[in-house]
């Protein structure tokens, strides 16, 4: 807390001071009027009620009144903005309402500073009276931590018996206290005792919401929770909850012309998102017609939408909406229910085997190139991997480590699957020394591959596989799957580019593919040909026009080294293929494979979860993607 200074005055001195201030300020405080207990202007400070009764409306009304003129005009076109600041002292405001004022201060000053609100606030001195205990059964300030505001007021009074101990946090407050309140010697012990007793009394009522800090996340997880409907069934849409809320600040703007039809006012009046007409446009469409959506919107504003912006719950737990609701709808019930559901969901989702690898045995090894070897492995327990094309596994060698490796065989029910591994790190180097009969450990399959939806979309289309170097390996799973039923596609073109002829993998398979004919074509190129190379030479982009694709009926599937994507995608775009018809498989460093460790993250996406296969249109705006 940035306390400017501490001070102590007798209660009598405080009221004497207020009396003195009456000449310079209007004083608003809790008082009785026509049988109501409310915040109102007083002319006799002795009539100020000190004992707390929760008022129907919070003191926000002094700065953001139920209705106020924001513009005056004449019908022939003279307009003038209207603000109406008066010097006021707001006395006896409680910690929850101070927390509420703080929210409104932020809301009305962000982006466009609101002149009507801010001019009134600048001219006001806020003097709080601290609570000694929770005021009633409906208050839940302690559940949202709003009972100890550190700013949002000028002076806070703590009742220590005959005296008020004062915490002054602003220059304005200091000036006021020095001008109007006669001092006593500040009694630190009494101040400390007040705070200890307050803390104990509030602790007895309970602690903050479980998972208070992550409520926005919990609300996001529960947008379709059944509680929204059960609460909406009872909700009268009467708007009471919003009228009494200290942190609600939506308003309607209304023109009122005098009967003379010559002059008029433009007013703003409190409005409420719980009211049916709130989101209705002139044409009659209503963007929040369902009560369920309105209930959801109101509570989400407090614990999700605006909470994200303010980094704290925008509900201050004063309990006014709970007291006002005839249908017994309470934010507390909703928050607790959603938290419970989210917690249960998380427990249910717990996977004790998440990091537990399973044993496989190497059944076949083949050297492809100087750096790349083909491995076939089989689960010792006979299970099937059950993967979709494009997914990967975490392969581990105990004592050395774990590495993410693409699966290069098509989906199968058997217990064997295939990988091609380049020696690049500790795990892969060690793997290259192993042979048939040796054991490895596997977790997976992981990631989002070429799922059913993508496979469905491919049907009837010209499929353009574009693989560069080792990029052929992750694509091979899908390539071989499509080759099983070539008649499902308009045409299958496999474009494969390598640095040298020696870098080509699956040579026998490629030869077989090229012999298939029909609607299947294999186009190969190498950057640096040797004497025996009789096919195309040059970069892979040169193969693209050779496939003669029709951009309206083609899906391109691309995998290769990072530099390749840029040029391939440029060429495809030049040939009018749209990016929602391009799929890429991305490589990233992966440690856990399950969206936790953070290494593979592209902005908000985990490649190991959302990828490695992406529709390019989903990631093209992400700077880090390629």
């Amino acid at each position: 807390m940035t306390t400017v200074f501490n001070k102590q005055s007798t209660k009598d001195a405080v009221f004497d001071g207020l009396e003195k201030a009456l000449g310079d300020y209007k004083i608003a405080a809790i008082t009785k009027k026509e049988g109501k207990v409310l915040f109102d202007y007083v002319t006799d400070v002795r009539k100020i009620e000190q004992e707390y009764t929760p008022t129907v409306l919070s003191p926000k009304k002094f700065f953001f009144p139920q209705e106020e003129v924001i513009l005056e005009y004449t019908f022939d076109g003279k307009v003038s903005a209207k603000t109406n600041p008066e010097k006021i002292v707001l006395f006896g405001i409680r910690p929850c309402d101070i927390s509420g004022m703080k929210m409104l201060d932020e809301a009305f000053s962000e982006s466009h500073g609101d002149p009507n609100y801010l001019s009134k606030r600048e001219n006001s001195v806020l003097i709080g009276i601290d609570c000694k205990s929770v005021c009633d059964k409906d208050a839940f300030c302690y559940r949202v931590n709003s009972q100890n505001p550190e700013t949002g007021f000028d002076i806070m009074l703590h009742d220590i018996g005959n005296d008020y101990s004062m915490t002054v946090v602003s220059e304005k407050g200091k000036e006021f206290a020095e001008s109007y309140f006669d001092s006593e010697i500040f009694d630190y012990a009494a101040y400390a005792k007040f705070n200890i007793e307050k803390k104990e009394a509030f602790a007895k009522a309970g602690g903050p919401f479980e998972d208070l800090d992550i409520l926005p996340e919990i609300f996001e997880e529960n947008t379709n929770h059944k509680i929204w409907e059960t609460e909406a069934e009872r909700c009268l849409s009467c708007g009471s909850c919003i009228m009494v809320c200290p942190t609600c600040y939506c308003f309607d703007v209304i023109d009122e012309l005098a009967l003379s039809m010559k002059v008029g006012d433009r007013l703003r009046r409190w409005d409420a998102c719980m009211l049916r007409s709130f989101a209705e446009v002139a044409g009659g469409e209503n963007f929040r017609e369902e009560v369920t959506n309105r209930v959801k919107h109101r509570i989400n504003r407090k614990f999700n939408f605006l909470m994200k912006k303010h980094n704290q719950a925008v509900c201050i737990g004063c309990g006014r909406c709970v007291r006002a609701c005839l249908a017994d709808i309470s934010p507390v019930t909703i928050v607790e229910e959603l938290t419970k559901t989210s917690r249960a969901l998380k427990l249910e989702q717990r996977n004790d085997d998440l990091y537990l690898p399973e044993k496989v045995t190497i059944t076949k090894v083949e050297k492809f190139t100087d750096n790349e070897k083909f491995f076939e492995v089989e689960f010792d327990n006979g299970k099937s991997l059950g993967h979709e094309p494009g997914q990967f596994v975490q392969l581990s060698i105990l004592g050395i480590g774990e590495a993410a490796i693409s699966i290069s065989s098509p989906p199968s029910f058997g217990s064997r699957f295939e990988m091609v591994v380049r020696t690049v790190g500790d795990v892969t180097r060690k793997l290259h020394t192993l042979g048939k009969g040796d054991n490895l450990f596997i977790r997976g399959p992981f990631g989002h591959g070429f799922d059913e939806q993508i496979q469905k979309k491919m049907e009837g289309k010209h499929i353009l596989f574009i693989a560069g170097g080792i990029g052929y390996v992750p694509l091979r799973s899908l390539i071989n799957l499509t080759l099983k039923h070539p008649d499902k596609y308009k045409k299958i073109s496999i474009l494969y580019g390598c640095k040298t002829p020696g870098d080509q993998m699956f040579k026998d398979e490629l030869q077989y593919i090229s012999s298939l004919g029909g609607n299947i074509e294999l186009l190969e190129t190498v950057d640096i040909p040797d004497d025996k190379w009789l096919k195309q030479s040059g970069v892979i982009t040169e193969l693209i026009p050779m496939s003669k694709f029709d951009h309206l009926n083609t899906i391109a599937i691309i995998c290769g080294p990072p530099v390749m994507y840029k040029f391939v995608i440029q060429t495809l775009k030049r040939n009018k293929l749209t990016t929602d018809n391009m799929y890429v498989s991305l490589e990233r460093r992966m440690k856990c494979g399950v969206g936790k460790c953070g290494h593979c993250q592209i902005e908000d996406l985990y490649v190991c979860q959302c990828g490695p296969v992406f529709r390019f249109s989903d990631i093209e705006d992400k700077e880090e993607a390629l």
Partner: protein
């Protein structure tokens, strides 16, 4: 701008709404700056065959009135229903749950057929198309002025579609339910500045239902606060028999009530 001609007509009613308008005095004189009153039986003897705006008080309860109403509709560009009887049937519609014979016998035991009457007392919209209404029993005269002013300006009438609770809370009233009373405020159209609840009373529904009221929840709440179903229906039917019927025919608490014609 030539001033629109306004004519007042009355049907089955106590004529209290017209009286309330006459009591406006100074504002009525100002109102005459923007309109010409050409017929107003309670205030003047002149009559007129032409008028732009017809203001109709009272409900439609006799078949023979249909001819006169149709004539008004044909003459006026704009028809405004004035007060609860014209707007929603009002108190008159209380009898709609009984047979005509019972009603006639109860009211005139000695000569039940003395007066002709329909089976039901309906709002004016039960006979002719109504373009706007001024709710209430009696009407809030300020609201009457506002509606007329808005229509002259070419705007929508501008009545609130939210319930009395909104205004009641703005007035900082402690809810009457906390004093053990029951109130129809949550389902009844605001615009009266919660005059009853702000002065020691409760809302009895003279201004009619808001669009899309949650009747089921309102009944549950009244029951929770100690009313039995008969008393709940009695209180809801005092002014709103016809509205409640319309609601029931729609399936109770339907999420999609009929759209309001004149007050968007």
């Amino acid at each position: 701008m030539s001033k629109p001609k306004v004519a007042f007509f009355d049907f089955t009613s106590c004529e209290g709404c017209q009286l309330a308008i006459l009591n406006l005095e100074t504002e009525l004189l100002e109102l005459l700056d923007i309109i010409d009153i050409v017929e107003f039986r309670e205030a003047m003897s002149e009559k007129s065959d032409t008028y732009d705006i017809a203001v109709i008080e009272g409900s439609f309860s006799r078949d023979k009135d249909l001819k006169r109403l149709t004539k008004i509709r044909e003459t006026a560009g704009v028809v405004i229903a004035l007060g609860a009887c014209a707007h929603i049937g009002g108190i008159n519609s209380l009898r709609n749950n009984q047979t005509r014979e019972d009603v006639q016998r109860i009211v005139y035991p000695d000569n039940p057929t003395l007066y002709e009457t329909n089976k039901k007392a309906l709002p004016i919209s039960g006979a002719i198309k109504v373009d706007a209404f001024v709710p209430g029993c009696p009407v809030d005269v300020k609201e009457f002025v506002k509606v007329v002013k808005n229509l002259v300006l070419g705007k929508a009438p501008g009545l609130p579609t939210y319930p009395v609770c909104v205004e009641c809370k703005m007035n900082e009233n402690v809810c009457v339910y906390e004093y053990g009373k029951t109130c129809l405020g949550p389902i009844v159209r605001a615009g009266c500045n919660a005059v009853c609840t702000s002065n020691g009373g409760v809302c009895i529904g003279c201004r009619g239902l808001i669009p899309n009221p949650n009747i089921n929840s309102q009944k549950d709440i009244m029951e929770k606060y100690g009313l039995n179903m008969d008393l709940i229906l009695d209180s809801m039917n005092l002014f709103m028999t016809e509205e409640n019927k319309a609601g029931q025919e729609q399936a109770p608490c339907s999420p999609m009530p009929p759209k309001e014609a004149a007050n968007g």
